[in-house]
């Protein structure tokens, strides 16, 4: 397929300011072009449909050690949801932690073409990339967990920001990673001995550094290295009542590092970090305070972490949090600490409508999305699979688009939560343009992916076409139609190939794996010498066997950036 022409669709391309105008999109050799020879091109008639850039997911656990342990832990999750083999596709299983092939197909069916795995333990990076190679269609990348690495803690303790930057650059290269992920900074190191840190200023045992210093240090490193994405932060105290104060503090702590109002921090699955109250009984929403702060500041982006009422599998690198969740639920619990670097935990979990806390969590995420005015600051996620499987995104879209849909949910949730929720008081209904921002344009902008999330000339021809006519249909009144349209894309085009047609996978090209290559040759040589000396002391694998070579990636796509350290 060399050239394609998508005709007469209502195009939503927020990065280029296109808001539902009827236009044609021309594609040649996998890129979007100005014009093509119509007679030679395959024509897709998109009249009466909406055309958007392919969906971009900034935070979804789809591959790697932890995800795979989740799959292994839960055969019962797979029995009820299977994907048979077809002449084109491989077989697999769902539900909350789908096998690799199934993950690729299901994202593509929803019109998503780029997905970021947000928690790669550096020591097990190879594993993540092996799974990426078996995840078809979508482009992907992974964020190495760096917030609790001993090297980082030690450099930052000594305030050696430049050396730390060189180390982070080396790590991105070694793990073929994309961004700096920080999970419960300091808490994971403390979890090595079964402890945790209490708040952003509680020193990390044995290291004498506070989470605040870690976040600030890595934020400075991020800037020095000119990384495409900001630091990606899972806050301390996640999942605990009253934690919104800590979240506000986390956002505030990098205020003075902001330049030109550019984003400096991404708070991920913010719902889990926006709890008010003193305990589970007095549990309340802290969404309003966070929304107020975010509305007044330009250096923060968030993603929702929307709760879905279903049975799912929680998995984070936040070992201590997962232990609390195990104690709360009594469900089976997996813990997996990684030497010198991080930890992880997994607990199956069911979100129930009738549970006060769960219903409030549903409300908190909705409040965040509805109260934060600027859609470029908040993105649609379910922190797959933590708050719900990604296959429920269309449901979340329908809630955002339709007040009616929200009210229907509210009718059925826990009474006390009903009374406390701010959702009934909010009239806002997202437009399709805003939906395009929170599901692709905003995410790709926050990630610094220049060729994704828009339909301008030169962009990758990743396009989703949904059978939804905004002219004839009152979307807010027809949430079910909206949901169904987003569940099964009429077409998903990946790099100019039609991969999905009418919700069915029709071809399965391999996707790229992005990684950030920081060019700082001198710093690299110096740091690798230092690392080599320390490596044997810190790890049980050899320095030479640690990095993932580029040929390990099925289709590597390096993004080269120039660092300010040399």
């Amino acid at each position: 397929m060399t050239s394609l022409l998508i005709k007469n669709g209502f195009v939503f391309d927020p990065l280029n300011g296109v808001k539902g105008e009827k236009m044609d999109i021309a594609i040649e050799n996998g890129k979007i072009v100005e014009k093509i020879n119509e007679r030679e091109a395959k024509i897709i008639d998109a009249s009466g449909m909406i055309v958007m850039p392919g969906g971009v997911d900034i935070h979804s656990h789809i591959a790697g050690a932890k995800v795979n342990s989740g799959r292994l832990l839960r055969p019962e999750d797979h029995f009820k949801d299977v994907e048979p083999k077809t002449p084109i596709t491989r077989s697999g299983v769902g539900y909350s932690i789908p096998s690799t092939f199934t993950t690729g197909y299901r994202y593509a069916r929803m019109g998503y073409t780029t997905v970021m795995d947000p928690a790669m333990p550096p020591l097990k990076a190879r594993h993540t990339h092996e799974e990426f190679n078996d995840t078809p269609i979508i482009d992907k990348a992974a964020y190495p967990l760096l917030g609790d690495c001993w090297f980082v803690l030690e450099y930052l303790k000594k305030n050696r920001i430049e050396e730390c930057a060189a180390y982070v650059a080396w790590m991105l290269k070694a793990t073929k990673g994309y961004a700096i992920k920080i999970v419960n900074p300091g808490g994971l190191e403390a979890w090595g001995f079964g402890r945790n840190v209490r708040n952003i200023d509680d020193p990390v045992p044995n290291f004498g550094i506070t989470p605040r210093e870690i976040i600030r240090g890595l934020c400075k490193v991020n800037k020095l290295l000119n990384l495409p994405h900001t630091i990606h932060v899972h806050t301390n105290n996640l999942g605990k009542p009253g934690n919104y104060i800590n979240t506000l503090e986390t956002m505030r702590c990098v205020e003075d590092l902001v330049e030109n109002g550019k984003p400096a921090i991404h708070i991920t699955h913010c719902q889990f970090s926006a709890f008010a109250g003193d305990d589970w009984r007095t549990f309340d929403s802290g969404a309003e305070a966070i929304a107020k702060y975010v509305n007044a500041h330009s250096h923060v982006t968030l993603d929702m972490g929307q709760i879905i009422f279903t049975e799912t599998t929680t998995m984070t690198a936040d070992g201590p949090f997962q232990f609390i969740l195990y104690e709360l639920s009594g469900n089976k619990w997996v813990n997996s600490d990684v030497e010198t670097e991080t930890s992880a935990g997994i607990v199956p979990f069911q979100y129930k409508r009738k549970s006060f806390v769960h219903a409030m969590q549903w409300s908190i995420a909705m409040e965040l999305a509805l109260l934060i005015q600027d859609p470029w600051k908040i993105f649609l996620t379910t922190d797959h699979p933590n708050a719900g499987p990604f296959t429920h995104y269309p449901r979340v879209i329908s809630w955002l688009i339709s007040r009616k849909a929200r009210e229907k949910i509210l009718e059925r949730i826990n009474r006390k939560a009903q009374r406390k929720s701010l959702v009934p008081t909010i009239d806002r209904e997202y437009s399709l343009y805003e939906i395009a921002v929170i599901t692709r344009a905003g995410q790709s902008k926050a990630l610094g992916l220049k060729n994704k999330g828009h339909l301008g000339v030169g962009a990758d021809a990743d396009i989703a076409i949904y059978n939804l006519n905004p002219e004839t249909l009152d979307l807010a009144q027809k949430p079910k139609t909206v949901r169904k349209a987003f569940e099964r894309a009429a077409y998903t085009i990946k790099d100019g190939n039609i991969t999905v047609k009418n919700g069915e996978v029709v071809s399965t090209p391999s996707g790229r794996t992005f990684w950030v290559n920081v060019e700082a040759p001198q710093a690299e040589i110096e740091i690798s010498k230092k690392l080599q000396q320390k490596f044997g002391e810190y790890y049980t694998v050899k320095y030479e066997n640690y990095p993932v070579p580029e040929h390990y990636l099925a289709i590597p796509a390096s993004i080269n950036v120039k660092a300010e350290v040399q």
């Binding site: 797979h78 077989s91 190879r126 799974e131 078996d134 090595g192 990684v338 030497e339 010198t340 030479e544």
Partner: protein, 483 residues
């Protein structure tokens, strides 16, 4: 002569990656850092005594040499025509090969199973029942002040496990107990010498009682040092170096684990002993477990394959989970083959299940006991088998082996094994980790690269390539049928 360093050893689940090899004329002539098992493999893998390099096909009851193309063509035909083929093995090859193997199993609608079905299968079932609190081996090196080996003998089976990862390692927060061990060893040798001298000196051959290891607290235990506990039915080499050795009565591990669980929660046991171990000692051990800063329980086949099987591991994992309410505790299976962990990992990411995956309905199904290799063979369900890097004829029950050899049997293996001798088609492959590169997973699921150190014989391709060619051939046959 060239030196290849940082080679990963393709023998056991410890996957030591610091091996240094001297290679001369495409032969490994010297091995540094490896244990006796690893050294033996590196030096003798190419010995023609256990290796054939040409493909073999059984004709008129005799295995005769054939071309690789013919062997692959015949293999593809057998697999494509079989209604329920079994594809078994996978633990001694790379994950790259396993990935292709799974695709092949799916294509022919067969069953893919790996050797964990007869070793740590119960451990996996247990993880699926109760979860799993674990960590990587470095975590133990840096933090563990209590190491328990239960039903396993690392000194003999994973020889460098103690020195690289656990008791004898030096970590950030935990010192090695080498010196303590050496002193102890010297004292022991001295005592033995004195005893022998006394024996020789005494005119009458009196029976001098050997110094029985009694259940008393060794003086070293009072020190704030790393402690080691071994639980086993017999006194192994590993037990000799332990601070505590609990000699459990055979098949009574479950009782012992449950007793420990009760003691952890301060329940009183109105018994004198459990599984042959006095209750006072158990109480003491419990105190050590609760009082440690970071504990680890390693378990081996002594636990998974003794009576109660999966229930043993349920109890073991539950014990560790309970201990986490009081301190930090982890548990880890001692995996045998160098990439049996990788087989589980790759099976899981492609199909959702770690072993015993049945593709006969067109999607992965998993029901160990029904879809596991031994059961399928014992029932006589499968009508062909492809064995990759494994030796079921030597290890499976007789009834299963009977069915295996009565039906078409294809073996892809670099070595001559009882299975390959019984096979209808043998495709010798390159030794992964020596003659072919790839990825393997250590017992703590840390992936490591396997190196290609020497060139394989021209007729021996890597498993991955052989499987790809079979897959291609199968697709050709199937496509032909459709047209």
């Amino acid at each position: 002569m060239r030196v290849v360093s940082n080679v990963t050893c393709p023998v056991c689940g410890s996957l030591c990656d610091d091996i240094e090899l001297i290679v001369e004329n495409n032969h490994v002539t010297k091995v540094r850092n490896a244990c006796a098992v690893g050294e033996a493999k590196f030096l003798a893998f190419a010995d023609p005594k256990h290796r054939r390099v040409k493909p073999l096909i059984r004709k008129n009851g005799e295995l005769v040499e054939a071309s690789l193309d013919e062997a692959i063509r015949r293999t593809a035909k057998i697999l494509a025509e079989a209604s329920y083929p079994l594809l078994y093995g996978w633990s001694c090859t790379s994950t790259e090969a396993i990935r292709v193997g799974l695709e092949l199993a799916e294509e022919v609608g067969g069953v893919a199973d790996n050797t964990s079905t007869v070793c740590h299968g119960p451990s996996i079932l247990s993880i699926q029942n109760v979860g799993f609190s674990s960590c990587t081996l470095g975590q133990i090196r840096h933090r563990a002040d209590l190491v328990i080996y239960w039903g396993c003998n690392p000194w003999s089976a994973h020889p460098r496990h103690l020195e690289r990862y656990t008791t004898f390692t030096e970590g950030r927060f935990q010192k090695s107990i080498w010196i303590r061990y050496l002193t102890k060893l010297r004292a022991l040798i001295g005592k033995k010498k004195a005893q022998r001298a006394a024996e020789l000196a005494s005119p009458r051959k009196e029976v001098i009682s050997k110094p029985e290891r009694t259940f008393s607290l060794p003086p070293t235990l009072t020190a704030k040092q790393r402690k080691m506990i071994v639980v086993d039915v017999r006194k192994t080499r590993s037990a000799e170096i332990a601070d505590y050795f609990l000699q459990v009565k055979p098949n009574m591990d479950y009782e012992l684990l449950q007793a420990l669980r009760m003691l952890v929660f301060d329940r009183e046991l109105d018994l004198d002993e459990v599984a042959g171990i006095p209750i006072e000692l158990l109480e003491e051990v419990t105190d050590v477990m609760v009082g440690c800063r970071f504990g680890i329980l390693f378990f081996g086949l002594g636990l998974t394959m003794s009576s109660a099987k999966v229930r043993n591991i349920d109890a073991g994992i539950s014990l560790v989970r309970d201990l986490n309410k009081k301190t930090k505790f982890t548990i880890m299976p001692m995996r045998g083959h160098f990439n049996v962990t990788g087989a589980n990992v790759a099976f899981t990411w492609q199909t959702g299940y770690p072993y015993a995956v049945d593709f006969s309905q067109g999607f992965p199904q998993y029901n160990p006991g029904e879809t596991s290799a031994v059961d399928i063979l014992a029932r006589g369900d499968s009508d062909a088998a492809l064995i990759v890097a494994s030796d079921p004829v030597a290890h499976f029950p007789k009834r299963a082996v009977k069915n295996l050899v009565e039906n078409p049997l294809i073996v892809i293996d670099p070595q001559v094994t009882p299975t390959s001798l019984m096979a209808d088609i043998v495709i010798p492959s390159a030794f992964v980790g020596i003659e072919a590169e790839g990825t393997a997973y250590r017992m703590d699921r840390v992936p490591l690269p396997l190196k290609k150190v020497v060139e394989p014989p021209a007729t021996c391709l890597p498993d991955e390539v052989i499987l790809q060619r079979i897959l291609k051939e199968v697709r050709k046959l199937k496509g032909g049928k459709a047209a």
